[in-house]
């Protein structure tokens, strides 16, 4: 099914790929930039009245127990998810070759998805 596309189609596919990759990579950074700009505006509006050290001190002092718990639950949840992902990848490394080997015995010409042994996207396929 993976026949090579003709010349003009390949050209447009490359254009689509480039634009989509740009959106994929820059999208989050664009929002981070917007958020940082708003934060900078707040700091600039306040600048001159007191030092950044005061702001930093107040920022840390505002970490009351409720906020700490919220941050803790959020970051803890993300860390748990990340650990689970790593565990899943280790399981893939351990179990996938067995399945591949079994399939290859039945169908020696079996084709592969060409993911990495951990089940990740190959570097050359990354957007």
């Amino acid at each position: 099914m993976a026949e090579p596309a003709n010349e003009p189609t390949s050209f447009w596919f490359k254009i689509i790929d480039s634009v989509a990759s740009l959106l994929y990579r820059l999208g989050p950074w664009f929002f981070i930039f917007l958020i940082a700009r708003e934060a900078a505006k707040v700091l600039i509006a306040y600048s001159g009245k007191q030092t950044l050290a005061h702001v930093a001190f107040q920022f840390i002092a505002d970490f009351k127990i409720d906020k700490l718990l919220c941050y803790g639950v959020g970051i803890g949840g993300a860390a748990y998810g990340y650990k689970q992902k790593r565990l899943k990848e280790k399981t893939i490394v351990r179990l996938a070759p067995e399945g591949q080997e079994r399939e290859r015995r039945i169908d020696p010409d079996r084709t592969s998805s060409r993911l990495t042994p951990r089940g990740r996207t190959r570097r050359e396929d990354e957007p």
């Binding site: 596309a5 702001v55 039945i106 169908d107």
Partner: protein, 190 residues
């Protein structure tokens, strides 16, 4: 004038928003892994089905091409996004170029299969890939979610409206048949 507490409050909101973006990035990776997992399971099912048809079936072009499609979808799952879909549709709408219609070519290969049962099974596998990918696209796009919610809500509202209308009409017919008969008589005389 902004006081120190307000500045600190705004910075906390900033931090939460940045952490939300980090969460979104993790969620985006999870969605790709989840789609791959479902496609791997489907590919496993296809392999088991091919095995049940005998070893010669592994050489069948219809099977091999379908497996290639699944492999491609697994490999490029990270590229299956709504923005890419919209971009592709727009580009090929404004700059029409002849593309290789791979699906039609595959359908032709499938139609050459002798067994009706095998044809149906392979078409079913192909349909399931399409459903998995479509669900993945809808789940991952805020715009598509809004479309689904609006269309869903309008369908529900239309359904509820029709039901209420049916109930009222039914009651009218059952309770006041004479009045409706009079209207019908008048209408038939025009």
């Amino acid at each position: 004038m902004m006081d120190l507490a307000a500045v600190s409050h705004n910075l906390h909101i900033t931090l939460v928003l940045i952490l939300s973006i980090c969460g979104f990035l993790l969620w985006r990776d999870y969605r790709i892994d989840a789609l791959r997992e479902r496609l791997f399971a489907l590919r496993g099912e296809l392999f088991a089905y091919a095995e049940s048809q005998g070893r010669d079936f592994f050489r069948e072009p219809a099977y091999r091409q379908l497996r290639e499609t699944m492999n491609g979808m697994i490999r490029f799952s990270h590229k299956l996004t709504f923005s890419r879909l919209v971009l592709s549709i727009l580009i090929f709408k404004f700059f029409p170029v002849p593309t290789d219609d791979i699906v039609t070519a595959w359908l032709k290969v499938v139609s050459k299969l002798k067994s009706e049962e095998i044809r149906e099974q392979l078409l079913n596998f192909h349909w399931r890939i399409f459903i998995l990918v479509a669900r993945h696209l809808v789940n991952g796009s805020l715009i598509l979610w809004l479309v689904v919610i609006v269309v869903g809500a309008s369908l529900v509202i239309r359904g509820v409206y029709r039901r209420i209308f049916d109930v009222i009409s039914e009651r009218l017919v059952l309770r006041h048949p004479k009045g409706l008969c009079l209207l019908e008589n008048q209408a038939s005389r025009y």
